[in-house]
Amino acid sequence: MRKYVFSQDHKVIGIQYGITALCFLLFGFTLMIMMRWQLAYPGQPIPLIGQWLGDANAPGGIMLPEFYNQLGAMHGTIMVFLGVVPLAVGAFGNYIVPLQIGAPDMAFPKLNMMSYWSYFLGGVTMLSSFFVPGGAANSGWTSYAPLATIATTGQTFWLFGMIFLITSSLLGSVNFIVTIVQLRAKGLTFMRLPFFVWAQLVTSFLLLLAFPPLEAAGVLQLMDRLAGTSFFLPSGLVIAGQPLHVSGGGSPILWQHLFWFLAHPEVYVLILPAMGIVAEIIANNTRKPLWGYKSMVYSTIFLGFMSFIVWAHHMFMTGMGTVISAFFQTTTMIISIPSVIILTALLLSLYGGSIRFTTPMLFATAFLPMFGIGGLTGLPLGLAPSDIHLHDTYYVIGHFHYVVAPGTLFALFAGIYYWFPKVTGRRMNDVLGKIHFYGSFVFINGIFMPMFIEGLAGVSRRLYDGGQQYAHAQGVLHWNVFMSISAFCLFFFQLFFIINFFWSMKKGKKVTSDNPWDATTLEWDTPTPPPHGNFIKPLEVFRGPYEYSVPGKSKDFLPQTEPEKV
């Protein structure tokens, strides 16, 4: 029990994070599937599962608006905080980073174990909120005051859940930074680090310094809800005709500043590890070094820094003055530059490569245009004049989902297909993998592309009936059905992944070498799967991470640890 459940080995912890996160991703997806039914067929009973949702949520299987709001708030919360980040950082980061730097484990193994269990507790708290009176949190994943302050009990659970999750992240980020700085193998200088490690390093700084203000804000909101304070409650608030008996004098804007101070860097937490994974897979499957490694590293560092000073571009519609508005527009435009540099470098890395279209490579390559669309659609949102029309519409939902769904999630799938052989000693099935890819690619675009159309037409987000009541929405509402059917199809194609994942663990084709992809980085230098302590002989690194197709060499790859032949 102690050996596995409370293991302090980074690989076991990485797998724990991975399985838990994948379950949460599936659950979060299921919540959205229910929402998409309601959006396409408002007022129609949900087939199959509607009967089990209970009368408080969906009497007769027909979703109540209150339940729709819970699904919306929890879908966002679960996907971001319980799904994507734990998978990208907790799972991939934990498993791969110590291996790629030649370390025996993370710097603080006990702390690592506590990080996972804090995450787990946070997840349990969040899930249990569905069963309290009034259901789960229902004020959006953004929990704006004063709505969230007066919301049902589920919101208190959300706040406590967030405190667990933030604690987990903070402990984890300390661990990652110390590990990467202190435990690099001999010869592994910073500029010889795989880009994946750089991405995780910058990500950890974002988590370390951006999360605490949200933790503070969470405490303040808890005090407003439980201790009768008015941190975020303005004077003169009237609810259902009754003045609220609190001291008042608080500021709803304060909540927004503190929330977005984290939540903006958080989106870079969502994308950077994904870019790291894509970089590894592209270099490996083009058999050539990454184009512009140094530019990518400096861009990532600059991006990380800028990400702390752009947050109020989420608040253009809150009555900000011209000073602060101009400041944040400017920084937001500036931050697009490093993003473009990284994307361009990755694209240019394909040029002249001997491309092997393995399943990981398909996902990694698709990431590029999908992230491109996500990034470009962010520009009109970052400029206040255009944001006036687009704020809080489906355009925003389309924008960020393009970055996170066919963006980050595709990269994470790529990573799973890529590193599965190192973790299990078996390959995932290639045919199932390709079906998973093509089906997902088609239908994920089917869900999110029409959102730009709806958003430009002015359809607001978070509407329980999908916009039915609004005259300006009528011309575009038919897209709701198209998007929902795409969502159901996307769900179907994930089954190929789920089956492949579990089947291959036991019956997948065994690899015949520790380095089945002929890669250069250190994680492939270990036995398969790596033992406790990872490396069985002392390590030294002699070169950069992407020495592929070096002229004059017999193999088309030169591992980092292979000594120069005298």
């Binding site: 700085v181 700084f205 310094l209 951006a210 203000p213 804007i253 304060l254 500043h257 101070f261 820094f305 702390f308 000073i309 109020a312 809150t318 009555g319 900000m320 003055g321 011209t322 000073v323 602060i324 400041f327």
Partner: protein
């Protein structure tokens, strides 16, 4: 630690600690005394924060050994300082309009 700590080194550090302690107590008395003058808000804030900054710097430099710390630690703290300043100043500028700041 890289620096070898001889008994003399430590004894010298202890002397410093006592000096800093005296300075901290003195500065505390000063800041409390000044507060009794009930200065108007802006000067009061400036004086109080200035004195507090000196005290904080003394604790950090000598009790926390920051004065002889490594570059990477300085880098982390400077980075944190920049974001701390952003968090202190930007939200308060929420309603600031051109010309009124």
């Amino acid at each position: 630690m890289e620096e070898v700590h001889t008994l003399e080194d430590i004894k010298q550090q202890v002397r410093r600690y006592i000096l800093v302690f005296t300075a901290l107590l003195t500065l505390t008395i000063i800041t409390v005394t000044v507060s009794y003058f009930h200065l108007s808000v802006v000067p009061a804030i400036i004086v109080a924060m200035f004195i507090a900054s000196i005290k904080g710097t003394l604790v950090a430099s000598y009790f926390m050994h920051l004065i002889s710390e490594r570059k990477f630690i300085y880098f982390i703290l400077i980075l944190t300082g920049v974001f701390f300043l952003a968090l202190m100043t930007l939200p308060a500028l929420h309603h600031a309009d051109r010309g009124l700041v």
